[in-house]
Symmetry: C2
């Protein structure tokens, strides 16, 4: 507690304690340090640094690195930003390489939103919600209702909305996978609710098991926690793991019998290298069809985003969530909550429409779209494979084959001397290792502690977005040196 | 309390009670009804309605109505969305009407952000923050520090951030003007903090007085509330009132002696018809200069946005806030909080840069920019004047001359019979009146109760954004009929 005379209204001891408690390592100390290095290099004052570039492998931010935007998407957005271009159709078509379908889509989107500079309805314009519903119908083979769809500023904003509704106080518990993307634990801290961790099975390719969930649930209930929801990240972040159809069925079964809202964070649904993506919505509807009446009141939120996948447009902050099975009175409160922040960025909402309704075979922009999309996918997969191969050759590093999302999450076994040096430095061993890696190579990763990990294990998360292989070689060299120094 | 067997996890009685308590009338029952009318008219099923158009005078949403975007801004944004256009400079210049400075600015902004599809640093790219600092320096005649500037998704998101930091529990009190834009009361409800209302002086052109603030503060302190901050909306929403230099000085004096954070919501700073806008920052720095040491620890947050002003680009969700005088440990928590939602929409951040750094005299886009800007300002003022004139002719309606922002906030005196009819209908009299107006004319306004008003008074807020005068005549006719019916 500070003892100096009170000068200001606010100090670290009297601000919102829940903000203070929240942790968000993805943009924590390492990220701040990496930005300092970047600024140093940019200003020409970084000549004494042992690297020429900072590689931000801490954030899934494709366009900061190699990834180019999809041409069709961006051409449409350029017309939405400056509609008078639509009056110069011949210039667009003959001199600027725009296709007929780009122009048509821009006109159609402008009909839906009026101007991208105007607020939209709080849940999004009807026409965009109808496009999303069609996408879901096609993906799942089951109908979707546009009025159950809410446009959001990326999936983060959707998660924030839903957790705000669900969490009624410190006794409210939410099941969160460990390791997890720390948005969940951070938001639960802010809301002063209880995180109920359930562990993913590293030995089994980071799979999700009903047993592990049930055991976490039982412990929490015994402690008096009112567990109301389960968050599932599928495909996983940071793990990349995809749930099988059968595992999804067991989660839904458990949610039905235990009255748990399912928060299905499905933002990596197109980033799957092994197996096939199954949406929670599709499996739920299948189960409802097979067992009339039994699953009607299962509450499911399915979240998606333009930030990840092949689109990689994080800067546009576009996303949506779909609600199934919610009580209409609760839905009215969700509407009110989202209306307080007015609406999601409208250009981002338009980008969501483009993502869910891309050019199809036979349309003028299709060939280019397809080649760009496939190229991005193949590039992600080949970089993931190269990185995985490098990890396999490193002493004390274990990492399963890349499964999907944008990340690898290797485990590291560090020498006792390194663990002691970390302690002396006031850091967890994985944070110490990651800081040394940044200082030596300019590569910024996130220590496993930022996502949660089983006690006694150490990991780090790295994206496989950065181009080339020299940064991977740099990491391998650093690792060898680190192990040599602390062995 | 619901007595049905538990089917779902969530019901209206067990969700977050603070969400349930929050009120946000700007997009409430009337807005929902108006959207239903709009959909009915669009589908051709509205032939039995007594109007052909819905006029959304409930939301300050300029581009939904008459206002055209500024050409320079949108041309730059179109290039940011599709940078390959920059390779066709001759087509841009000679066939599409883009000027040299549009191209230069787009290139410069792309250097700052990389891609508008990439996440930026959580507080915004350095170059954009430097532009904002230059704008503030020029506006205020005092230096500004780019590292104290935080880009946000509109000003709403900035207010949300600051209130999250300040509010530590139910005992935390925030002074809020009444009437106010209901974002403040809604967010305080969500945070379970205490709203300490201070009344603006309607008889005195809705001015802010230190006496009224002091009296509210004293009452709150006596009740055990830890009052930590004061929100000031200048120019006012819904009132349009601009604070004088002297009034700002007294607020700062009070804040200094009472240790109150000043939340200066200055989003309407260019919408001033009477008097001159003074920023809190400028006045604070003047006072610091005149009284060395005395005001150094005054904590001020100044918020701005691309949504209002002449820009009117609400759909882009761009804004920023500047911090002065905060404890560095508190600043670190603000950084962490904003990093959890990753970053503000990047195209919106670029638009902030364009707003604060528009074409200047002698630059190729200046003449058009100036004529558009002046045209928008003059249009706002003339529509405000016409609307005010109409109100003056209405029985029982009182309204001071338009002062600024985008709103008029007339008081209405309704007949006793109308007040009883409202009661029978389960509505406040102003909500009843506004619903009748919507049903008769298609014009959607917000009842005064949504902003707060002195007990026994009734008001409504209307924007003066809608073009033409026929809707104003419709409102006047409705009012006459309403008074006739209930007199």
């Amino acid at each position: 507690m500070s003892t100096s005379p009170r000068l200001r209204s606010l100090n670290i001891d009297n601000i919102n304690p829940h903000v203070r408690k929240a942790e968000y390592a993805v943009r924590g100390e390492l990220a701040v340090k990496s930005e300092e290095y970047r600024a140093q290099l940019a200003s020409g004052k970084g000549s004494d640094l042992p690297f020429d570039d900072v590689i931000s492998a801490n954030i899934g931010n494709p366009q900061q690195l190699d990834q180019k935007p999809i041409t069709f998407f961006r051409q449409v957005l350029s017309l939405l930003e400056y509609p008078p271009l639509l009056e110069k159709e011949d210039v667009l078509l003959n001199q600027l390489g725009y296709k007929k379908d780009v122009i048509e889509r821009a006109k159609w989107l402008l009909e839906q939103v009026g101007s991208v500079g105007a607020y939209s309805a709080s849940t999004g314009p009807q026409g965009i919600k109808e496009s999303i519903a069609k996408f879901i119908e096609k993906r799942d083979g089951h109908p979707a209702d546009p009025s159950s769809i809410y446009l959001s500023a990326g999936a983060s904003s959707g998660v924030n909305t839903l957790l705000h509704i669900i969490c009624a106080g410190p006794k409210t518990g939410i099941l969160v996978p460990i390791p997890q993307y720390p948005l969940y634990t951070a938001t639960l801290s802010l809301l002063d609710a209880t995180c109920v961790p359930y562990y993913l099975d590293e030995a089994n390719a980071w799979s999700t098991s009903a047993e592990s969930i049930t055991s976490a649930l039982t412990t929490a209930k015994e402690a008096g926690t009112d567990v109301r929801a389960i968050a599932i990240i599928n495909p996983g972040n940071p793990t990349g793991a995809s749930l099988s159809y059968k595992d999804i069925e067991s989660v839904i079964d458990l949610a039905a019998s235990e009255h748990l809202v399912i928060l299905a964070d499905e933002v990596y649904q197109t980033n799957v290298f092994i197996g096939k993506f199954h949406s929670f919505k599709a499996v739920l509807r299948d189960m409802q069809k097979k067992n009339p009446g039994k699953y009607d009141t299962v509450e499911l939120v399915s979240l998606h985003s333009v930030s990840k996948g092949i689109v990689g447009e994080c800067g546009h902050r576009g996303g949506y969530f779909e609600l199934c099975g919610f009580d209409p009175e609760v839905v009215a409160q969700i509407y009110k909550f989202v209306s307080i922040s007015l609406c999601a960025p409208v250009i981002g909402q338009c980008l969501v429409e483009l993502m869910v309704n891309p050019p199809t075979e036979g349309e003028p922009s299709y060939d280019l779209y397809k080649s760009e999309r496939d190229g991005i996918f193949a590039g992600l997969q080949s970089r993931a494979t190269a990185l995985h191969k490098a990890f396999q050759a490193m002493e004390g590093v274990e990492c399963g084959p890349p499964q999907g999302s944008m990340y690898l999450f290797p485990s590291i076994t560090l020498p006792q001397k390194a663990i002691e040096a970390a302690k002396a430095d006031g850091k967890t061993p994985d944070a110490f290792y990651a800081m040394k890696m940044l200082e030596a190579t300019g590569v910024c990763v996130v220590p496993g502690a930022g996502f949660g990990q089983k006690e006694g294990t150490l990991h780090f998360r790295t994206t496989f977005l950065a181009p080339g292989t020299s940064w991977v070689e740099g990491v391998a060299r650093f690792h060898e040196g680190f192990m040599g120094e602390y062995r």
